[in-house]
Amino acid sequence: MTRLTRRYRISASHRLHSPALSEEENRRVFGKCNNPHGHGHDYTLEVTARGPVDERTGTLLSLDALDRLVRERVLDAFHLKDLNQQSAEFAGAIPTTENLASAIAARLSTHWRQTFPGPWPELDRIRILETRNNRFETRLAPPR
């Protein structure tokens, strides 16, 4: 089993605010991230695939195909955008990085087999660094 991890960058703004909470509760729960004008991050996205290496090519997957999938389904949707106002996922959801990770996982899972038909490679893991100090990870393939 081999895993391949590719890193991408997403610069986007967001504001963490729940309409279910009062102004004061929002400030308490989300702290600085509740600033009404929003703020931005240079997120680092790591996409991991796993599977066997093709004996003839020596590769797990086509990097070109992976880059195209991530660009078309994720970067075009989120990079240099305001997450609250410009993405369908966050019209009614809070753009925490947990939710951003889930949204990216859903987008890639939905379109994965169009890009990579057949059983391999599998989409293994999505990891997002919000800053150098915070990272969020969701595992998508069953443990092996």
């Binding site: 089993m1 081999t2 895993r3 391949l4 991890t5 590719r6 890193r7 991408y8 066997p52 290496v53 004996e55 003839r56 090519t57 020596g58 590769t59 797990l60 086509s62 990097l63 070109d64």
Partner: protein, 138 residues
């Protein structure tokens, strides 16, 4: 417990299969197919898994691991053109996937038991591309 040792080597490689046309190779490997080669500052991370020894408190002597890594990987790979100078890359395409598997093969004989055992080899071709091999079927 997992312990990891990191090391770097600088080497050049070219990813192409001689039986394919330049266009086919470019479609498969992108710019890495340039037959003249190009270089990277590769980073390798070797992870061992085991229980700390009751007396020494160590899973494995990291100095010893460094020496093994230097002898088996860094010395043969560093400042070489992998395709021309480092078998099996005279006939195996030196993709990051194949380099990680070759590093595993070089290190595995040093860890025949279960404590510690070789857990994974991670190879960074660039900051943005990492391949991890854990042995077994490819």
């Amino acid at each position: 417990m997992l312990i990891t040792r990191r090391a770097e080597f600088s080497a050049s490689h070219a990813c192409f299969r001689p039986e394919l046309s330049p266009a086919e190779n470019h479609a498969l490997y992108g710019p890495d197919a340039n037959p003249h080669g190009h270089g990277h500052n590769f980073v390798v991370e070797v992870t061992l898994e085991g229980e700390p020894d009751a007396v020494t408190g160590m899973v494995f002597d990291l100095t010893h691991l460094k020496a093994i890594l230097n002898r088996e990987v860094i010395e043969p790979y560093d400042h070489r053109f992998l395709n021309h100078e480092v078998p099996p890359f005279d006939h195996v395409v030196p993709t990051p996937e194949n380099i990680a598997a070759d590093i595993w093969r070089r290190l595995e004989p040093h860890f025949p038991g279960q404590n510690p055992k070789l857990r994974s080899v991670r190879l960074y071709a660039t900051e943005d591309l990492c391949v991890e091999y854990e042995g077994g079927g490819r």
